[in-house]
Amino acid sequence: MDLPILIGSILAASPPILFAVLGETITEKAGVINLSLDGSLLLTAMVGFVVALHMDSVIAGFLAGMVVGSLIAFILAFVSMTLYQPQVATGFVLTLLCRDLAYVFGKAYAHIPGPQVSHAAIPGFSDLPLIGPILFDQNPLVYLSLMAVILVWFFFFKTQPGLLLQGLGERPAAAYVRGVDVTAMRYLYTLIGGAIVGLGGASFSLMVKPGWARPYGIEGTGWIALAIVIFGGWHPIRAAVGALLFNALQTAANLLQSVMPDVPTQLFSTLPFPVMILTLLLVTIGNADWTKRVLNRLPEGMRRFLIRTLKALQTSPPASLGTIFKKE
């Protein structure tokens, strides 16, 4: 198929993972790891669909998804920041718990046709050459998710609260000196992040894979979203690129299957995952101690180049990610 359409279809599938990645980026920017993403996505997808079905309104569905998403985030925040229990452990438990809850409560709603957000081409623009099918012949959620990316970027880097948010994750003590109530703010951003993740879950069940089933077919996506946050270096735009890249990989896997008849299909279906690790490797390897030593042995020109590329790729987390702030 021709490129614009291809890209268009990649964008069309992207909103859920975009929202998930954005939500987690916000949470982690504040210094909190919400590991429960995989479960959250499933549960919010299920709830979103069920509510939308009963109230016959996708809006209600999305709201429900966001509420549940932030509810999960709240449990995480409370257990880790108020009860001082390990954040990763809590997140992991929540992942499995939410997944099973989704299956238990969703059982009665499998394969029931329900409401879904319908496609909305933007008249006039949609049949522009090239960018038409890519940008303007899409589902409202696609527009929304892309706008959200810009919005979050703007919030992070162009507004005072965004700056405070960065400080929160970088050095809570210093943020506190500048008059930020660290714990309260972390709660807030954890909840917001959770809500956006919930939006992502709901946009699975109300747009990309309308309905509910078991297996629903997004199992595992949350983990990838978490990895993409790292790849994205906690920067919304770069994270968005990562998300799209992952979708592109999946599409590539389908197309390649017929192009390379000798390679077993399973290799294609799994392709995105090793690639994910590889990219992680690329962005983190710069932090490994031995790299510098090796690089120093290399000839000048090559070293320069390698160092520059590594620097460009390298990402490092908010300095206080996952640590709990207690003021003296």
Partner: protein, 383 residues
């Protein structure tokens, strides 16, 4: 405790005859498993005081570490007197269970362990197999697809690749090709038929291709009709989305009579299994203690392929199929019925050019059941 009052004597009603069914997916998956569930229900309704008990979602994803012998034990302890295991995935477990409980009849659906002529005959006497000749259903599906497509491009959303799935994909292709060349009288070169295999019967993220994505890519790249070969409904759901977005696309479902209900106007129809009669037969044999091992491969009842009591496979048209095409499809079915159309008749070539059927040669059951390779003219992988 308090004393029990003597209860008024009732007419002793006969104890129900319980049969157990093991489902691989959810009983309400609108696909393979639900078709079997309905089959069981049908048997309940036809045989006085026959009662079905079932376990669904028997797959390592949903029920870690659960094996067929274990489920069988469970069902038997609940009073089951015959057990149906309804997946190719259960063939080994069923064999083991059958050996473990020699006086409980077992029926493994879609297996071949009980086929004396087959390549894999090793079943004990209490184990039988049955399967429906879905080939015909798929031919009809292919025909409907070819009649409907505007672009001349038909996508086949395949599960994993094996003999069964190959023969079904091929059947769909043969039906399509017949409709294209003999009914529409179009240039065979203009027909594209492409199979993409996701790698399993349903989506397992990270281990299969995402059927939703495969469907999207089919539609986006001009394949306006997609025939689903998997147990779940992604193709239809996606077609529905596309249609809502104003694209003229269609899907063909699989397995379950009601599968089109999710979006009737984009569904051309569904080739489905009507397991009821087969269940009745097996339960009756067990009930009347005249069990003998058998291997059934039941076709449609050509008098009425949708007859609930006689036809093992059928095809229900859906609103997505235009009136005139519907008539053409009926014609095609008639042709199949009276034998004037036999698509498993030579000459047929494999993808690699080797001969499958020589001129005039008609394929034997063995040749159809164990289908080694896709046919020439089909796009997609054979292994």
């Amino acid at each position: 405790g308090e004393k029990k009052k003597p209860e008024p004597a009732k007419a002793p009603e006969p104890a129900p005859f319980v049969f157990g069914v093991v489902l691989v997916g959810p009983y309400n998956d609108h696909g393979w498993s639900e078709a079997h569930y309905m089959g069981g229900k049908y048997a309940e309704s036809k045989i006085p005081n026959a009662k079905m008990i079932y376990v669904d979602n028997v797959n390592p994803g949903a029920k870690p570490g659960v094996t067929i012998p274990q489920v069988a034990e469970d069902l038997i302890s609940k009073g089951a007197r015959i057990i149906f295991t309804t997946s190719d995935d259960f063939k080994d477990g069923t064999l083991e269970a059958a050996k473990k409980y020699p006086n409980i009849p077992f029926v493994n659906v879609s297996g071949d362990h009980a086929w004396k002529e087959g390549k894999d005959y090793k079943a004990p006497n209490n184990l039988s197999n049955f399967m429906g000749r879905m080939e015909y259903g798929k031919m009809i599906a292919g025909c409907a697809a070819a009649l409907t497509t505007q672009t001349g491009k038909i996508g086949y959303l395949g599960p994993l690749i094996n003999d069964e799935t190959r023969r079904l994909a091929v059947s769909a292709y043969l039906g399509a090709k017949y409709a294209w060349t003999n009914i529409l009288k179009k240039d065979p070169k203009k027909l594209k038929f492409k199979a993409t295999w996701i790698g399993f019967w349903f989506n397992i993220p990270g281990q299969t291709l995402d059927p939703t994505k495969v469907a999207v890519d089919f539609y986006k790249s001009g394949y306006d009709v997609v025939i689903s070969g998997i147990d779940t409904t992604e193709a239809l759901v996606e077609a529905n989305k596309m249609a809502k977005a104003g694209k003229k696309v269609r899907a063909i479902q699989y397995d379950y009579k009601e599968a089109c209900k999710e979006a009737e106007e984009v569904c051309l129809g569904v080739p489905y299994f009507n397991w009821g009669p087969a269940y009745v037969k097996a339960v009756k044999m067990a009930l009347e203690n005249r069990w003998t091992q058998y291997w059934d491969w039941d076709g449609p009842d050509w008098k009425d392929i949708n007859h609930p009591d006689t036809s093992a496979v059928g095809f229900v048209k859906s609103r997505g199929l235009s009136q005139e095409n519907a008539e053409k499809v009926d014609g095609f079915i008639k042709g199949l019925a009276d034998g004037s159309i036999n698509l498993f008749k030579g000459p047929r070539q494999f993808q690699n050019g080797k001969t499958y059927l020589k001129e005039g040669e008609v394929a034997t059951d063995l040749q159809v059941w164990y289908f080694p390779q896709l046919l020439q003219g089909m796009e997609g992988r054979s292994k």
